[in-house]
């Protein structure tokens, strides 16, 4: 097939798809009003039910915690898949990193970045943020290390095994808290009543902060593992 025919075919298919989408969207009636349904209930009683000031976290880790377990499992699966396909039996590409000034500056800044990451994770039930977001910040530290100090730096300090342990540890924390719900409260992933305290304090909202910590470690370690499998060297005869 020559190029022109192929291009016209692709254009025709894309145009047809665009038309179908446009037609489909034109079927939708104009915006009337959001059907409130269960969101009304959550806005009214969410704080009372869960003790979490951040209602999004309340939905994520209490009302629909099973979905979050699924979503974090998706990340777990993606990490395993990427490691399976990309991992090589070689150390990562080594480099000397950037200049002395950058290294020194980052050395001063790193503790604060880590602190911010942990803040976002542990205050998920009080302010915007949570495990997923904080985990990404923690993973960013690992990535910045490899760029600024050279890729062998982080690799030597935290081996892939350590990261795997952190990741599965986070996943198991989520699962164990869910199972504790069965034993203590009678339902999987039910909020643990004995952990609740005064609203708005750091240790309140039942099991939500602990799930947040588990998810934070899982996401952080998982993304770091993905990054390090992607920068590894490739060679022809590898198996």
């Amino acid at each position: 097939m020559n190029k022109l025919v192929k291009k016209t075919l692709i254009t025709a298919v894309l145009a047809a798809a665009a038309f179908a989408l446009y037609y489909n969207f034109s079927l939708l009636p104009g915006y009337q009003d959001l059907e409130k349904g269960i969101s009304d209930y959550i806005i009214t009683y969410g704080l009372h039910d869960t003790g979490s000031l951040n209602l999004i976290t309340a939905v994520l880790y209490d009302y629909r915690a099973f979905d979050s377990l699924g979503e974090s499992t998706v990340i777990f699966g993606a990490v395993s898949g990427i490691v399976l396909i990309l991992s090589r039996k070689m150390l990562p590409v080594s480099s000397k990193g950037l200049s002395f000034i950058v290294k020194r500056t980052l050395g001063i800044m790193t503790p604060f970045i880590a602190l911010f990451g942990f803040y976002v994770i542990t205050h998920g039930h009080l302010s915007p943020g949570g495990g997923f977001q904080g985990g990404v910040i923690l993973a960013a530290i690992s990535i910045i290390f490899s760029i600024v100090y050279g890729s062998a730096f982080d690799y030597r300090r935290y081996s892939p095994q350590t990261k795997t342990v952190l990741e599965t540890g986070g996943a198991l924390t989520f699962l164990v808290i869910g199972l504790a719900g069965i034993v203590m409260e009678g339902a999987f992933l039910k909020n643990l009543g004995f952990l609740t305290a005064e609203r708005g304090t750091l240790i309140s909202a039942g099991s939500i902060p602990y799930i947040n910590i588990g998810v934070g470690f899982k996401v952080g370690a998982g993304l770091a593992i993905i990054f390090y499998s992607m920068i590894q060297k490739t060679f022809e005869e590898d198996f």
Binding site: F76, L189, F239
Partner: protein, 510 residues
């Protein structure tokens, strides 16, 4: 509240989470741990069946579990009725057989393989059990990501290309499904399937059409029906055999379940008929089936051929279910069961037979049957069942499908069933004949044989692999004689498809 159905999801999930830790301690323990997980899962299913035998006979079998203790419209509910029970049982049997096969087949990167495998198991159980629209989306996404990674398991250029193609198509389908879920929540304010089903008929017909079209496109991509079938043969070809068995034996059946659940329970078939979608869909599915068989006829690669024939069968099943008659469901679900075992068995047998050939091509199939006679006989039995020979399971299911088409006076459908069987005779007999051809090796051939890399370097537990192949053949022959065994479960599942009000009442009423 029945906690066993929750553990159907949690056992494979926990196994998947623990395998990396076991790996770090002692990699040899892994195999026993995998077996432990599978056996626990089977034990759970057996206790569910034996504990509810009376309910099966009375026809009031229903189990559910409220996650987090939140009652239906608020939280997520797991529900198991006759339809999901049937699918859970056959999925679990397939998962069990394929995992034992994998212990014999997979020789490298076992740790990650089993993690992904058990995630697939957990996700398919979750998709079969959940009664919540967003939750089903989460499990679909999990299925897509994990199976995409397994398709690229061989890490060759071809495998990566197939995996990327698979991921592009299927992630797109997942996004469309998500859009549909969003629009449903926007208009109805709830995600529980029963609550959505209760109010769906009151929506304006524009929104109804939009939601149906979006869900339809997404599920058609996932199942591989005509306009979107092009990702399927490539990924079936390059994935290792156990993975292909999972793809065609489990994933496509899970998507068929989701198709039935969404279009009969959630949206309701009356809505589909009032939108005039059903006639169009039957024709589309039958045309897709026709195309599948025609492509299979010209295919020169055994695994790709089986992929095309899967397209043919899935199209036929979709069409016969869409007839919306009792006979149609009976034939369709019986064919889902038989196709699940036949196709998985064929891929499993292929994995054994193709271990020392240079490629999957027709020419290299020469002499395969002489080298491994007994496995090849099992392979032939499975092929004959695909064609629809009388004492085998494929015959029984195809007979009921044909009867359903004739009863509904859909002569195009009846034609496609016969046409599929006839073309299958042509394209399978070719391979059987080639398999029995004598190979005369010359010096050059031997040299080429030695220096060309075989597709699979080690198959290090041959006995297990061939044993599983015989098991599949035995299932096909045994249930082919005694297909009446499926009468009760099929009646139960037809009952739960047709009786939507009861499902709504049971889920919402607790």
């Amino acid at each position: 509240m029945d906690i066993k159905i929750l553990f159907l999801i949690l056992v494979p999930l926990g196994t998947a989470f623990l395998i990396p830790l076991i790996d770090l301690i002692n990699a040899k323990l892994r195999r026993f741990f995998v077996l432990l997980g599978v056996l626990l899962e089977s034990y759970l299913i057996i206790t569910i069946i034996t504990g509810n035998l009376d309910n099966f006979r009375n026809g009031d079998f229903f189990l559910q579990y409220f996650l987090g203790g939140w009652r239906p419209p608020l939280g997520i509910t797991l529900a198991m009725d006759g339809l999901s029970l049937l699918f859970v049982v056959i999925t679990a049997v397939s998962l069990f057989l394929v995992v034992i096969y994998s212990i014999g087949y997979i020789g490298h990167h076992e740790g990650k393989y089993y993690v992904l495998y058990f995630l697939i198991a957990a996700a398919s159980m979750g998709a079969l059990l959940t009664a919540d629209l967003f939750n089903i989306y989460v499990f679909i996404e999990m299925l897509t990501i994990t199976s995409g990674a397994l398709i690229g398991f061989k890490r060759s250029e071809e495998a990566s290309a197939a995996a990327i193609k698979y991921l592009i198509y299927n992630v797109l389908a997942g996004l469309l499904f998500f859009l549909g879920v969003l629009v449903v929540y926007f208009n109805l304010g709830t995600l529980n399937m029963a609550a959505v089903a209760q109010n769906f008929a009151d929506l304006e017909s524009g929104i109804q059409l939009f939601i149906s079209a979006i869900f339809l496109t997404s599920i058609l991509i996932k199942m591989g029906i005509f306009p979107f079938l092009f990702w399927l043969p490539k990924s079936y070809d390059t994935a290792p055999s156990p993975v292909t068995a999972v793809l065609s034996g489990i994933l496509s059946k899970v998507y068929l379940y989701i198709f039935i659940r969404i279009f009969w329970t959630v949206i309701g078939f009356e809505v589909i008929t009032s939108l005039n979608l059903n006639i169009f869909l039957i024709d589309l599915a039958l045309f897709s089936s026709f195309l599948g068989h025609v492509f299979a006829l010209q295919s020169n690669n055994i695994k790709r051929l089986l992929g095309y024939s899967s397209i043919g069968h899935i199209g036929m099943i979709t069409a016969v279910i869409l007839l919306n008659t009792e006979a149609g469901f009976y034939g369709g679900i019986l064919h889902i069961i038989s196709h699940m075992f036949m196709k998985a068995g064929l891929f499993v047998a292929c994995g054994y037979l193709l271990q020392y050939t240079r490629s999957h091509a027709y020419g290299d199939f020469k002499g395969v049957g002489l080298r491994n006679k007994s496995v090849f006989i099992a392979f032939i039995a499975l092929l004959l069942s695909m064609i629809g020979m009388p004492p085998l399971l494929g015959f029984a299911s195809k007979w009921y499908v044909l009867m359903a088409f004739l009863e509904a006076r859909s002569y195009f459908g009846a034609f496609i069933v016969i046409f599929g069987s006839l073309t299958a005779v042509i394209y399978y007999l070719r391979y059987i004949a080639k398999g029995f051809e004598e190979v005369k090796l010359t010096e050059d051939d031997l040299k080429e044989e030695v220096f060309s890399r075989p597709l699979l370097s080690v198959l290090y537990r041959e006995k297990i692999v061939s044993f599983i192949t015989y098991t599949y053949a035995a299932i096909i022959i045994g249930f082919g004689v005694g297909f009446r065994f499926f009468d009760l479960p099929l009646k139960m599942s037809i009952n739960s498809i047709m009786n939507v009000e009861r499902y709504i009442e049971l889920v919402l009423g607790g």
